[in-house]
C-alpha cells in the first residue's frame, strides 16, 4: 500500500504518526481513506464541499498531483504521497 507522509503541523491529528499506510488506487482515494481513518484530519484537508484545500498540496514522489492527473493520479505499491501544507513561521514572536 502507498505511504502518505504527514507534515508536522498535522501529526497531532494522526496520533503522532509521521507516515501512514493507506489503501487506494488513486491519490484522491488514498487521501480520502486517510481522512476516514483520522476524522480530525478531514477539516484540515478538505473544504466543506469536499474539495482539497488550496493551502494543502499533495505530491506523488516529487510531483505535485495538480500537474499529474489531480485526484485521479494513479498510485501503486511503494509510491510515496506527501502532504505539504503552507507554513508561515519564520520571525516567530
Amino acid at each position: 500500500m502507498p505511504n502518505v507522509k504527514i507534515p508536522t503541523p498535522l501529526i497531532q491529528y494522526t496520533g503522532g504518526k509521521r507516515e501512514v499506510e493507506v489503501g487506494g488506487a488513486t491519490a484522491g482515494e488514498a487521501i480520502g481513506n486517510l481522512a476516514q481513518e483520522y476524522p480530525d484530519l478531514r477539516q484540515h484537508l478538505y473544504t466543506g464541499d469536499g474539495k482539497l484545500r488550496s493551502f494543502v498540496n499533495v505530491y506523488k514522489g516529487d510531483e505535485d498531483i495538480r500537474y499529474l492527473e489531480g485526484a485521479d493520479t494513479e498510485i501503486s505499491e511503494g509510491d510515496e504521497l506527501s502532504i505539504i501544507p503552507s507554513i508561515a513561521g519564520g520571525r516567530c514572536r
Partner: protein, 392 residues
C-alpha cells in the same frame, strides 16, 4: 564560472575593494566562482530582509560577513526573552531594545563595510513597492501569512526574486520564487489557510537551531543569485526535516492561471492582505465567546470561589507553568466532557487565550451555560496577578 545571468552586473571600475577588504574576503577571492569581480558584485548588491527574527538573524549576519554592500531590514519589534533561543543577532543585553538597533550594531561589528538601512514600520501594501524598488533581492523571513502574500505579490509586480524560508517545530521549507523565471508563492499556494487552522510558531514552537539551517540556505541562495553561479532553488521546494535529518525536494511549476504571475493576472496591484487572509473574521469569532479578565478571576477566587478553573494546554506546558487549575488538553476535551459539571461556572485558560476560546465554544455547544474564556491566558495571569508564575 557563471551559470546564469547575475542579478548584479560587473561593477566595471565603479566599485573598488580596499586592502582591508581584500584581506577580509581572501577566502572568497581565491575561489574562481567568486573572485575579485564576484566580491565587487556582492559589495554593489542591495539585499532587503523582511524581519530580524529567527530567519533574519543568521541571514543578515552571514550576508554581512560575506560582504553584501547594503542590507536593508524591515522590523518593528523589540527584543523579548523568548526570542533569544534562536534569534542570534540579538543578545541578552539587547532585551527591550528595538530589533533594528541590535541588528544594526551586530552587523556593523561583523563587518563595518556594510551599509545598513532600517525600516521600523510594518511592511504594508502602501510602502512595500517603494521599499522594494531600491533592492536587488528580497529575502522573506516573516512569521505570518498576510506578510508572506504581500512580499510575494510585491516581488512579482516589481520583478524581483523572493528568497523564501519558513519553519515550524523541526521542519523547514526554502525556495526561490522568481516569477521572471519560474513560479511564485501563489503558484504553489493560491490561498492562505483560514486563521487558526495552522498553528504559528508562537503556538506550536520551533527548534531554536532550525532557523539557522533555513536562514543560511536563504543566504546561500541570495549570494548565488547575485553572482549568477550554480543552480538556484527556482522551481524547486526544498524540505528539511531536522528530526530525521533528511532533505527532500519537490518540483514546482508556474501556474498559467496564477492570479499574480499567470497569463491573465487578476491581481495587478497590492491588495488588503489582512482581508485576503481572513484576519478580521478570526477576531470576530474569538470575540464571540464570553470572557473574564485575570483580575476578575483572581477576585472571584479569593472571594471564596464559585468558579472552577480549567486549563486546556498540554501536559508539558503545565509542567513549565501552572496556576493549579485542573488540566484537560483541548484535544481530549470532547471525550472528557463528562468529567465536567454543567451547573458549575467554569473559567477556561490556555497560554494566551486562543485555545481556551475554542474550548469555551466547545462547551457551549455541549450545553454548558456558564463558561468563560480567561482573557490573555496564563501569560496575563503572570503579568498582572502573580509574577512568580513563569512566562514562556
Amino acid at each position: 564560472m557563471q551559470t546564469r545571468q547575475p542579478l548584479v552586473q560587473s561593477p566595471n571600475g565603479e566599485v573598488e575593494l580596499s586592502n582591508e577588504e581584500i584581506a577580509r574576503y581572501s577566502r572568497h577571492l581565491i575561489m574562481p566562482e567568486v573572485a575579485l569581480d564576484g566580491q565587487k558584485k556582492l559589495k554593489r548588491a542591495r539585499v532587503l530582509t523582511i524581519g530580524a527574527g529567527g530567519l533574519g538573524s543568521p541571514l543578515a549576519m552571514y550576508l554581512a560577513a560575506a560582504g553584501i554592500g547594503t542590507i536593508g531590514i524591515v522590523d518593528f519589534d523589540v527584543v523579548d526573552e523568548s526570542n533569544l533561543q534562536r534569534q542570534i543577532i540579538h543578545g541578552t543585553s539587547d532585551l527591550g531594545r528595538p530589533k533594528l538597533e541590535s541588528a544594526r550594531e551586530r552587523i556593523e561589528d561583523i563587518n563595518p563595510n556594510v551599509e545598513v538601512e532600517t525600516f521600523g514600520e510594518p511592511l504594508s501594501s502602501e510602502n512595500a513597492m517603494e521599499i522594494f524598488e531600491d533592492y536587488d533581492v528580497i529575502v522573506d523571513g516573516t512569521d505570518n501569512f498576510p506578510t508572506r502574500y504581500l512580499v510575494n505579490d510585491a516581488c512579482v509586480l516589481a520583478g524581483k526574486p523572493n528568497v523564501y524560508g519558513s519553519i515550524f517545530r523541526f521542519e523547514g521549507q526554502a525556495s526561490v520564487f522568481y516569477a521572471e523565471e519560474g513560479p511564485c508563492y501563489r503558484c504553489l499556494y493560491p490561498e492562505p489557510p483560514p486563521p487558526g487552522l495552522v498553528p504559528s510558531c508562537a503556538e506550536g514552537g520551533v527548534l531554536g537551531i532550525l532557523p539557522g539551517a533555513i536562514g543560511t540556505i536563504q543566504a546561500t541562495e541570495t549570494v548565488k543569485l547575485i553572482l549568477g553561479i550554480g543552480e538556484p532553488l527556482i522551481s524547486r521546494l526544498l524540505l528539511y526535516d531536522a528530526l530525521s535529518m533528511r532533505f527532500r525536494e519537490m518540483k514546482l511549476r508556474k501556474d498559467p492561471n496564477c492570479p499574480v504571475c499567470g497569463e491573465n493576472p487578476s491581481v495587478t496591484e497590492l491588495i488588503d492582505y489582512q482581508e485576503f487572509c481572513g484576519i478580521p473574521q478570526a477576531n470576530a469569532q474569538v470575540d464571540e465567546v464570553p470572557e473574564i479578565t485575570v483580575r476578575e478571576l483572581s477576585e472571584k477566587l479569593s472571594n471564596g470561589g464559585g468558579v472552577s478553573v480549567l486549563d486546556v494546554r498540554e501536559p508539558h506546558e503545565y509542567e513549565v507553568a501552572n496556576i493549579g487549575a485542573r488540566l484537560i488538553p483541548l484535544g481530549e476535551l470532547p471525550e472528557r466532557l463528562v468529567e465536567l459539571d454543567q451547573d458549575e461556572t467554569i473559567a477556561i485558560h490556555c497560554k494566551t487565550g486562543g485555545r481556551s476560546a475554542r474550548a469555551v465554544k466547545l462547551l457551549q455547544d455541549a450545553g454548558f451555560q456558564n463558561v468563560f474564556n480567561v482573557k490573555g491566558g496564563i501569560t496575563a495571569w503572570s503579568e498582572e496577578i502573580d509574577p512568580s508564575v513563569p512566562k514562556y
